[in-house]
């Protein structure tokens, strides 16, 4: 049994294509049932996020299975296969395992290390388990993928640094102000990035928000949203000393906070450090503010640099993650291959026994003066020969099952003796790693 993956992602397809082949989670039951109803497809899981659509399946026939899934994707979304095909990638066996482990560990994400993808795969697997489109192999496979992702997360620092500007601002503020739980934020002007940063600060425990805006109503509206306090723009400097974190993004043509203002404000708050972020272009806060002692001013460019550095760091960590994944692939592949051992042994025995029986019957039917115990003795003789002949290959196969190179043996035996094995659907063969 082989694992195959067919899909497309942000790396191969534009968003226009991705949204065309996306599956809606509310309507996932029918495609899952259709998928496992396909010829040669035994189990199937459909993962559909805004960055990727992928189908994980098990099949006996790799090429046929992949072709059928491609066709299924095209038909289901009513796109011609010719249009869709260039965007699709497919993997089988080890490469398929590697791909899914990497995706779950967020190594294949647009932002490497982002945490959502694991949850999305878990949800997708949840549907497959609910509608019983996944079976023994995919169940085991995806649980393994989840544990690999967890291992990557705990053993590497792939997700430990901030890779968005808003989050970088929070991290930086923590390096100055320490614990943010008693800190107050002042939002000057309204901008998407400011609001996002304010949300991040509040999520990190900041105590309160003051909002000011040239149009007081907007300030009030935003203050309501954050359960904060609206401050009139004309008066904001009088309130600034209460703020530890200042986020500014007004459309003002010149600076609205100068070094002198900050000096005054710091004196009022007994020189407790203040953290300024200026998102506006042209700037709202005079760059000289950064020269004031205990005031720390950062621009978007500074934050952007941090983000870039963190991304570089993540890529380094990603290499460690790849190593972990390689180890885990080996283990899982061993288990997957071992599933084939017993059915192959049984089939081999059956084949030998078939021949033995046929030849024995032929001999017995033409034998006139057979002694009374002759049939019994011939039976015993042929059985003994068969058992002796089978002993070595059976042992070798079982040992190969422990060792991991079993697929080679299994394939050779199947071809040499023209074996048809039926896959066992119970879990008794699981080799615990």
């Amino acid at each position: 049994m082989n694992i195959i993956v067919v899909g497309l992602s942000h790396k191969t397809a534009t968003v226009e294509i991705r949204e065309k082949v996306a599956f809606s989670p509310n309507l996932i039951e029918k495609p899952l049932r259709d998928l496992v109803a396909l010829n040669d497809i035994v189990e199937g899981v459909i993962v559909s996020t805004c960055n990727r659509v992928e189908i994980y399946a098990t099949t006996r026939d790799i090429a046929g299975g992949i072709a059928r899934i491609k066709r299924f994707l095209a038909d289901h979304h009513r796109i011609s296969l010719e249009t869709l095909e260039p965007y699709l990638y497919s993997y089988h066996s080890e490469a398929a395992i590697r791909h899914v482990f990497r995706v779950a560990s967020s190594l294949d994400s647009m932002v490497v290390g982002e945490p959502q993808i694991l949850g999305q795969i878990k949800t997708s697997y949840g549907y497959a388990a609910e509608y019983k489109s996944s079976g023994i192999i995919l169940n085991r496979f995806l649980h393994k993928a989840f544990s690999v992702a967890k291992r990557v997360r705990t053993e590497t620092k792939i997700a430990s640094s901030a890779v968005s500007v808003a989050f970088a601002a929070v991290e930086l503020a923590k390096k100055i102000l320490g614990d943010l739980s008693e800190k107050t934020i002042m939002l000057i002007g309204a901008g998407e990035m400011c609001e996002l940063a304010a949300k991040h600060f509040l999520n990190s425990g900041a105590k309160g928000v003051m909002v000011t805006n040239r149009t007081f109503e907007r300030a009030e509206r935003l203050a309501d949203e954050f359960k904060g306090e609206a401050v009139r723009f004309e008066e904001f400097l009088q309130h600034l000393h209460r703020a530890d974190i200042v986020l500014s993004s007004t459309g003002a043509p010149h600076c609205i906070i100068g070094p002198r203002d900050v000096q005054e404000i710091l004196k009022r708050r007994k020189f407790k450090s203040m953290f300024f972020i200026d998102i506006a272009v042209p700037r709202d806060i005079d760059p000289l503010v950064d020269d004031v002692e205990n005031a720390y001013l950062f621009t978007v460019d500074n934050l952007q640099e941090i983000v870039q550095a963190n991304l570089a760091q993540r890529n380094l960590e990603a290499e460690k993650a790849e190593e972990i994944i390689e180890q885990e692939i080996g283990q899982f592949y061993k288990w997957l291959s071992s599933l084939e051992v017993t059915p192959t042994i049984v089939a081999l025995r059956n084949r030998f026994d078939e021949i033995r029986r046929a030849e024995l019957d032929k001999t017995l039917s033409g034998w006139k003066d057979l002694p009374p115990d002759g049939e019994k003795r011939l039976e015993a003789l042929t059985m003994a020969i068969m058992n002796k002949l089978l002993h070595t290959p059976t042992t070798a196969l079982k040992q190969a099952g422990q060792g991991g190179r079993v697929d080679l043996y299994v394939d050779a035996l199947r071809q040499l003796f023209d074996l048809q094995t039926c896959h066992q659907d119970d879990g008794e063969l699981e080799l615990e790693e």
Binding site: L177, D179, K270, K272, S273, Y296
Partner: protein
């Protein structure tokens, strides 16, 4: 026995210092744990060595430079181990364990001659004075280490340079808080140490204050820390200014400790 424990202490402090210095360049939980364990082990050996020595000489080993340096070192390590558990500041170890190690090495290099306790030191006021002085010294040493870290971190923030060391040094506010706590503990101790010292001086020499270099420099040290604490509480001196003053205070303290001999003792 004293010697054995002392050598063990020296070895463990050496390893711990190396580990803490390595922590500056490499972040690994294992390394951090072991640095702390080695230092704790060293500290225990140090306590045993000190107790054993006190037993031998029948008084606290605070009466000559060799003993004093060792005790100073022990106090620094103990104070750091406490703060490390309280504030999770591994990097502080990279700044203060080398100081403790150097003091211990200096102590081991000095020749110890067995001698009788000068009668002048046989006063309870002397022991109170010496013990409290060392407690306060340890607090001020930590404060100075924290101040150096503060200045480094502040430099990174002002120049917008966010390297690996920046990530490892604790937040400015945490450093500021530790520094304040150390001063708040160290200053009253120093005050009482100076008062008890002058009482002892009166007993020994008949005068509370004789303006010998040790007393004069002690007063200067006290004035610097008094100014720092006062500025902090009333005006809100913190940050760079407080850090620099704290370092100056520590330098003056070292001058007082190493350079100025009591005209009355040795």
């Amino acid at each position: 026995m004293t010697h054995l424990f002392f050598s063990l202490t020296l070895g463990l402090y050496g390893c711990a210092t190396a580990a803490y210095l390595l922590c500056l360049f490499r972040s690994s939980a294992l390394l951090t744990t072991w640095a702390s364990r080695l230092l704790l082990g060293g500290c225990i050996a140090h306590v045993l060595s000190t107790v054993h020595l006190s037993n031998q000489i029948k008084h606290l080993p605070l009466t000559n430079m060799q003993e004093s340096l060792s005790f100073f070192s022990l106090m620094i390590v103990a104070a750091f181990l406490f703060l490390e558990r309280r504030y999770k500041v591994t990097t502080l170890g990279s700044f203060v364990t080398p100081v403790a190690l150097m003091m211990l090495i200096a102590s081991s290099a000095l020749h110890a001659e067995l001698r009788h306790l000068p009668p002048i030191l046989q006063s309870n006021w002397f022991w109170i004075h010496a013990l409290l002085a060392f407690f306060s010294y340890a607090a001020f040493t930590i404060a100075a280490g924290v101040a150096v870290m503060y200045l480094i971190q502040r430099h990174f923030l002002k120049t917008k340079h966010f390297g690996a060391l920046f990530q490892r040094i604790p937040p400015l506010e945490t450093l500021d808080e530790i520094s304040y706590r150390c001063l708040a503990v160290g200053f009253p101790l120093l005050t009482v140490a100076i008062i008890s010292g002058s009482i002892w001086s009166e007993q020994a020499m008949g005068s509370y204050w004789v303006w010998d270099p040790k007393q004069t420099w002690s007063l200067i040290t006290w004035l610097i820390y008094a100014a720092l604490l006062h500025g902090r509480l009333t005006i809100g001196w913190r940050g760079k200014r407080a850090a620099i003053m704290s370092i100056i205070g520590f330098v003056v303290l070292l001058i007082t400790f190493f350079g100025m001999k009591h005209s009355i003792t040795w």
